[in-house]
């Protein structure tokens, strides 16, 4: 069963730091057939040329860190979190 067969979802994406610059926007709403945030990141990485591999990111959905294999739900707010560098 492919993700496409199950239809698409609308997700709100938030980009930060190097990802924001590489994407050119801080936020966007997207229709996607990706099943998980992992699938979604690979899709976006191919489209926008993100340099960071998923292994170096974390993902947060609706302001909580979640596992990469969490299934996306319609209306999710998805943030890919580059390696942090506060302080």
């Amino acid at each position: 069963m492919s993700a496409g067969a199950r239809g698409s979802r609308s997700v709100k994406l938030q980009y930060f730091a190097v990802l924001r610059e590489q994407r050119g926007v801080a936020e966007e709403t997207l229709e996607t057939t990706a099943r998980t945030s992992s699938d979604l990141y690979e899709e976006l990485r191919a489209r926008h040329g993100f340099t960071l591999p998923a292994a170096r990111l974390r993902v947060a959905i609706n302001d909580s860190f979640v596992p990469w294999d969490r299934e996306l739900a319609d209306g999710d707010r998805v943030a890919f979190i580059p390696p942090v560098a506060g302080g």
Partner: protein, 148 residues
């Protein structure tokens, strides 16, 4: 309490708010924008954050510090936006009955902030270049993993 702010950090007010007759020790840590990093002259830093997640994660760290160490107070504030040389990017203040727990907790808090809180830093150099810290990928590309 962990706060993210675009305003300059007011170390005087922050320090004053920690006053507590039960506390015998107060340790503060400030991270300042330094004029150089790894041999490159720095002009300014740009901090960007996932605001909601940063405050959640920051407050989680303070709660962890309070459960690990017998503290009387613990506060941290992180700056967002563009900062000039000498400005404070982060302020951590901890009080306890004794210095052991105050030192240990202050160190714990700043280490965890740096490791976990979704805040990013871009250094702007005197030569006109700039770089997001920890986000370099050139090594990986050299190993044959160019963006698709």
């Amino acid at each position: 309490m962990f706060k993210l702010t675009h305003d300059p950090l007011d170390s005087v007010a922050l320090r004053r708010a920690l006053a507590d007759p039960d506390a015998g020790a107060c340790v503060t840590f400030e991270g300042w924008v330094r004029n150089s990093n790894e041999g490159r002259k720095v002009l300014r830093l740009q901090y960007e954050a996932h605001g909601a997640l940063a405050e959640l994660e920051g407050n989680r760290i303070l709660a962890e510090a309070r459960s690990r160490f017998p503290l009387t107070g613990a506060v941290a504030v992180h700056r967002a936006g563009t900062l000039g040389i000498g400005e404070a990017a982060v302020w951590v203040g901890v009080t306890g009955e004794h210095r052991d727990e105050a030192f240990s907790a202050a160190r714990f808090i700043i280490d965890e902030i740096k490791a976990r809180v979704p805040i990013w830093k871009k250094e702007h150099y005197a030569d006109g270049s700039s770089e997001w810290l920890n986000c370099a990928t050139r090594g990986e590309h050299a190993k044959g993993e160019p963006p698709a």
